[in-house]
């Protein structure tokens, strides 16, 4: 008779003479039955620790089941995080996260688009009329209320630095379109004013102002 090498782990079970475990209540072995050549094993009620009435204290077999399930579940759960987190920005992606930009390249009334963290960044040198229009609208009915003052560095009203992705679904708005003299998003029709504030359309937020600082009068560092 073939025996499984780890058969001794089935210790609690009553066995027939060939080593197949016996069912809990009855007299039949789990061995595949063949006609005429099988001897019924003795019945020993309650000898199998697998069976205990509901409400009984867990026995040792239950403990082993629970402990094994917890150990396997814990191992899988603790390994899940590395496999999820590997999709987050990697070290080299994070290392490339800031740029410096020379402002002398931008003429009055002009906008320069630079790439920062894979996204377009609008650097605009605003005209007096545009700044005045933006301040005038501070009291308008704004979806994402912000004054123009809060959207540029103190004393640098002519420089507007915003992330050039529409806050709706991330398209790049074009300057000079729309009803408010600022940007217009071609994808789903959001209108931004000269301060980059959302005025009309589906976008929920103003164009985001990134963290940046003036290193000198002619140089900014973004990120």
């Amino acid at each position: 008779m073939f025996r499984w090498p780890y058969q001794n782990v089935w210790q609690g079970r009553r066995r027939d003479r060939s080593g197949f475990p016996v069912r809990s209540e009855g007299s039949r072995s789990l061995r595949p039955q063949t006609k005429g050549s099988f001897k019924v094993a003795d019945t020993v009620v309650g000898a199998n620790p697998d069976t205990h009435a509901a409400g009984d204290d867990p026995n040792r077999r239950d403990f082993i089941h629970i402990a094994a399930a917890v150990a396997a579940g814990g191992a899988v759960a603790s390994l899940a995080w590395p496999f999820i987190d590997q999709m987050n920005p990697s070290g080299d992606t994070l290392a490339l996260a800031s740029v410096e930009f020379d402002l002398t390249k931008v003429e009055l009334g002009q906008q320069v688009v630079i790439k920062w963290r894979g996204k377009p960044l609008f650097v605009r040198k605003r005209t007096g009329a545009e700044i005045a229009a933006a301040i005038k609208d501070d009291k308008a009915d704004l979806r994402d209320p912000q004054t123009d003052e809060e959207r540029h560095k103190p004393g640098k009203a002519e420089w507007l630095v915003v992330i050039g992705t529409c806050t709706h679904l991330g398209c790049v708005p074009t300057f000079g379109g729309g009803d408010f003299g600022g940007w217009f998003c071609p994808c789903h029709g959001s209108h931004y004013d000269t301060s980059g504030r959302i005025r009309k359309g589906p976008a929920p937020k103003n164009l985001a102002v990134p963290d940046y600082a003036f290193l000198s009068d002619t140089k900014v560092k973004v990120g």
């Binding site: 999709m87 894979g118 679904l169």
Partner: protein, 439 residues
């Protein structure tokens, strides 16, 4: 896959294999001897057509992956190299690109077939839900595949779709960053999309296996919607439906080939032959045609989160359809009122698809300005999509639940065979004496 098997192994090798791995028995029971309702019409051939579509996409896709380079600096050029330099690369890529469209044409017909004939009703709810899972996987696969050539539409399509998840409160931004692997759609995004685009078709194949398994437990629905009552109602799958499906597949492949060879770019967008530029969004950004109805629903809602929820809701509602339709009558042949609403639903889906391809503020009837309702002119595509989207949801959530309780269906035949046998053309001599038994 279930029930009684008539397979009898004929040779010694077959007997030997059958006691060890009854795979020949499985194939015999599933595609040769499988009892199939004898009245299936051509709308039932799309299951076989879809299997062919999946096969074509897998074979052409594996070949394309041998030549494609998933890197932002090389992806576009490697696709152009496939088109120009790789032997028959143009053919294989056009088969793959048009194959996706053909796959969706077939799946939409297959789904509307199920809707019309009530194939989602008991006992086929799991079969229907597995089909919805396949459809979701198909959409994910198609979307990621469209990103791979890294053209303008690829890139900005990926930007828009991944930004949808940004609409979720609190976790939105973390999820989009996680999907991108950076702060924007970039090389890590392309890499993982390629990996997943390769994986998902095999998951589809796996769920298709479950779908067929779930089909073979209750057996096919049929145009009458009446259960199979006896052996008289069925014919063996082979040769009856292998031949019928085969003929339909050939006809479908003629349509497929006409696109591949005569108009391979008709279903694509010209802007995708411009290399991706993260700094400029194309003036008119549209998804592939098979996503247009959902895109129209997204744009119909003026609120970002609301639009996203409604768009996903349009798919989610299909999963619970078996419990929304209260009618016990499966086939709409015997539900004249439901039939009317069904064809309006079909029209609403087509209208949504058309609106998805237009600019929201454009006029539906040219040069006619009516009045502004809330935020747009009433004669605009955004309002047309709103009405169509409203009907789309009303069909599932209001019409089908109520109609099943209030309508009076026509009498259903006693069996699949009954209307055929009682047809005058089949009447034996003398049967005309009892015309009331004609169906």
């Amino acid at each position: 896959m279930s029930g009684h098997s008539n397979y009898e192994p004929k040779t010694g090798i077959e007997r030997w294999l059958d006691t060890r791995l009854p795979i020949v028995r499985l194939a015999y029971d599933s595609i040769i001897d499988f009892p199939t309702p004898k009245n299936l019409n051509y709308w039932w051939t799309f299951g076989g057509i879809l299997a062919v579509c999946l096969g074509i996409q897998l074979v052409t896709g594996i070949v394309l992956a041998m030549h494609y380079v998933p890197h932002v600096d090389h992806a576009f050029a490697s696709v152009e190299r496939i088109m120009r330099d790789v032997n028959y690369g143009w053919l294989i890529r056009y088969m793959h690109a048009n194959g996706a469209s053909m796959f969706f044409i077939a799946v939409y017909i297959h789904m509307f077939r199920g809707l019309y004939y009530g194939s989602y009703k008991a006992p086929r709810e799991v079969l229907w839900i597995l089909g919805c899972v396949i459809y979701l996987l198909m959409m994910a696969t198609a979307f990621m595949g469209y990103v791979l050539p890294w053209g303008q539409m690829s890139f900005h399509g990926a930007v828009v779709i991944t930004n949808l998840f940004g609409a979720l409160p609190i976790v939105g931004e973390a999820i989009t960053t996680w999907l991108w692997g950076g702060f924007a759609v970039d090389n890590p995004t392309l890499n993982r999309f390629f990996s997943l685009h390769y994986l998902l078709p095999f998951m589809i194949a796996g769920v298709v296996g479950l779908h067929i398994w779930a089909l073979h437990v209750p057996g096919n629905n049929n145009p009458t919607g009446v259960n199979v009552k006896s052996k008289e109602d069925t014919v063996p799958f082979h040769p009856y439906y292998t031949v019928k499906d085969g003929f339909a597949i050939v006809v479908f492949l003629i349509l497929f080939a006409s696109f591949v060879f005569y108009n391979p770019n008709a279903l694509g967008h010209a802007d995708n032959y411009i290399p991706a530029n993260p700094l400029v969004t194309p003036a008119h950004i549209v998804p592939e045609w098979y996503f247009l109805p959902f895109y129209a629903i997204l744009r119909a809602v003026p609120d970002k989160l609301g639009g996203v929820l409604l768009m996903f809701g349009a798919i989610a509602v299909m999963f619970v359809l078996p419990w929304l339709d209260t009618s016990k009558v499966r086939s709409m042949r015997y539900r004249p009122t439901a039939k009317l609403y069904f064809f309006i639903f079909l029209l609403a889906c087509l209208i949504l698809g058309y609106c998805g391809g237009q600019l929201p503020d454009d006029h539906v009837i040219p040069h006619l300005s009516t009045f502004t309702l809330i935020d747009a002119d009433l004669n605009s595509f955004v309002w047309l999509s709103r009405f169509a989207a409203l009907y789309y949801f009303a069909y599932f959530l209001v019409i089908l639940p109520i109609l099943g309780l209030t309508e009076t269906p026509l009498p259903q035949p006693e069996s699949i065979s009954a209307p055929v046998l009682s047809h005058p053309a089949n009447a034996p001599a003398g049967a005309a004496a009892s015309p009331e038994k004609r169906g």
